[in-house]
């Protein structure tokens, strides 16, 4: 069991999301950086979909009431285990009674605390993710609060044998498919969608200006600030299903990127959709940072996906090399 001693307001238990009930209006939820969650779980020998704590408001301080192993992935949260600083993208053993603190990140936005066996909250509608708006799933359908005690699942047959092991962060390990930020502007690939043709006059503006992520951004979606874009004429949209990554343009002309906690349906015109392979990068951006949207296509998405799968496969092998089989 682990106990939350201190936490920011909106930290939640998340797995890879609730995918089977979108037709009933149930949002996907799930980790904003699924790559970090999968990598952390692989390092511990967990199922990739095991639940972890997504930390986006700092600090988070937890006490371990039993010895286990953890993996810290995602943002570099300047973590401290008792008095020892831990590097980012790091897995290690923790002993009963130890206290872990994750602090405001040096880089990135969301840190993941993965634990051997996963956070054991009940599955609701096929997922352990917190559905904040619907108030179900995760830990009692709400964000974590000081005093909460979370049960841990059974660790896999393999236990962490070494004192610690690091993995290379994805933007370094897969630099060939994830372009570096230029002057702090992060490239995010998107594929034209739906009403793209209505925005012809503003296509250059859409693809060429850096869009700043506004303060009114959260797990539901990011509002982008920049020179507005407008359709050639207004269209009356009937409510349609949508997926995380869709870029909609409300009447004011500043786009919204729908993300993990987005509604399952919407009615604004849509101009593009961020490829899902790049969503994790959005999840690691703070309000105030800027992105450049890159006109992409399905072929490119396949290439990136293959690179991600190769990276995860290497991680799986790496993890097997230093974990031991329990008797």
């Amino acid at each position: 069991m682990i106990e939350i001693e201190r936490t920011g307001a909106l930290n939640t238990v998340q797995d890879l999301g609730r995918h089977g009930f979108r037709h009933l209006g149930v949002s996907v939820s799930g980790a904003m950086d699924p790559l970090a969650l999968r990598a952390g779980n692989l390092l511990l020998g967990n199922d990739e979909n095991a639940a972890a704590i997504e930390v986006q408001v700092f600090p988070l301080r937890v006490r371990f009431h039993r010895s286990t192993a953890i993996a810290l992935t995602g943002a570099d949260c300047r973590a401290r285990l008792d008095d020892v600083e831990l590097p980012p993208w790091w897995g290690c053993r923790v002993e009963k009674g130890q206290v872990l603190e994750m602090r405001y990140p040096r880089s990135g936005a969301r840190g993941y605390l993965c634990v051997a066996g996963g956070i054991d909250v009940p599955e609701v509608l096929g997922s352990r993710s917190t559905a904040l708006r619907g108030s179900f799933g995760g830990f009692n359908g709400r964000a974590l609060a000081a005093g909460d005690r979370l049960a841990l699942g059974f660790p896999s047959a393999r236990a962490f044998a070494r004192d610690g092991a690091g993995i290379e962060p994805p933007e370094l390990a897969m630099a060939e498919v994830f372009g570096a930020a230029r002057n702090g502007v992060v490239p995010i690939r998107a594929i034209p969608s739906g009403e793209y043709g209505l925005f012809t006059a503003d296509h250059a503006r859409f693809w060429q200006q850096p869009w700043q992520i506004s303060r009114q951004s959260n797990r539901t979606g990011y509002r982008l600030c920049g020179e507005p874009i407008h359709p050639s004429h207004n269209v009356e949209m009937r409510s349609y299903g949508l997926i995380p990554g869709i870029v909609q343009v409300p009447p004011a002309g500043e786009p919204i990127i729908q993300l993990s906690d987005a509604n399952t349906a919407g009615g604004y015109p849509k101009i593009a959709c961020v490829i899902e392979e790049d969503l994790w990068r959005l999840g690691q951006l703070q309000a105030g940072q800027s992105i450049l949207l890159i006109n992409s296509d399905a072929k490119q998405a396949i290439v990136v996906r293959q690179a991600i799968e190769r990276w995860l496969a290497r991680l799986r092998d790496f993890s097997r090399s230093f974990t031991t089989v329990n008797g």
Binding site: G25, S27, S239, N263, A265
Partner: protein, 229 residues
């Protein structure tokens, strides 16, 4: 509604609009204006696709359908071709829906926008309420929030534009009119629709295997349990 059905029959052979969302999702939009006939073909298409191994999720909307595949197809043209084919083959289905009766407390403190609806429509409050509870509604699709039903069948003369400034904390269960639609809110929170009453009803329970009260094709009636003017 006869004219609507007629118009849809004419457009049976008209082509659908297809667009992608990312690399493995397609939105199929039925041609023409809204009609229950078009919606019935959307349901039929969804049934057909539910049997396909390569389909991960289906989200029916209002005369449209979002199809999410399990993987990004290597041949980008094959799936849209298949979708158009299925649409041509799809015929209206008439699901044996349930009748859901929702007792409503019309007027009163929670009907904070009843006067707005009266002003916009030119009807008295009594007339707005009469026309609302005498309507026969069909659940077209679920979405926007867990278990929320998009209902068809609001008297067109009751249509009232959404509010420019949403109510910040509208109670779950509020009976509302938003543009040409009506519904019962399922979450307490910001809401741009006009409140005309309140219903004590649970439309979604995450703890049940079948969590949503409503399903597409169901009929809904509002019963005037209490009218407070």
């Amino acid at each position: 509604m006869a004219w609507l059905e007629h118009e849809a029959a004419v457009s049976l052979s008209a082509d659908v609009t297809l667009s992608t969302m990312g690399s493995r999702a397609w939105l199929l939009e039925a041609p023409g204006d809204f009609s229950l006939a078009a919606q019935r073909r959307i349901w039929s298409l969804a049934n057909r696709l539910a049997d396909c191994d390569d389909v991960e999720s289906l989200i029916p909307g209002v005369t449209n359908l979002l199809i999410l595949l399990k993987r990004t197809p290597i041949d980008a043209d094959a799936f849209p071709r298949r979708l158009r084919e299925y649409w041509q083959q799809a015929r209206e289905i008439h699901p044996q829906g349930r009748l859901i009766e929702i007792p409503v407390h019309y007027g009163g403190e929670l009907a904070s926008d009843l006067q707005t609806v009266c002003r916009h429509t030119g009807f008295t409050a009594k007339e707005v309420i009469r026309r609302h509870h005498q309507g026969q509604y069909t659940v077209v699709a679920l979405g926007s929030a867990p278990g929320f039903g998009y209902l068809h069948g609001l008297d067109p003369q009751l249509a009232t534009p959404r509010k420019t400034v949403p109510s910040l904390n509208m109670l779950k269960g509020t009976v509302t009119i938003g543009g040409p639609q009506t519904g019962v809110s399922v979450l307490t929170g910001p809401n741009g629709w006009n409140a005309i009453g309140y219903a004590e009803i649970e439309v979604f329970d995450a703890g049940r295997a079948n969590p949503a009260l409503m399903a597409p094709g169901d009929s809904v009636r509002f019963l005037p349990e209490r009218i407070e003017l």
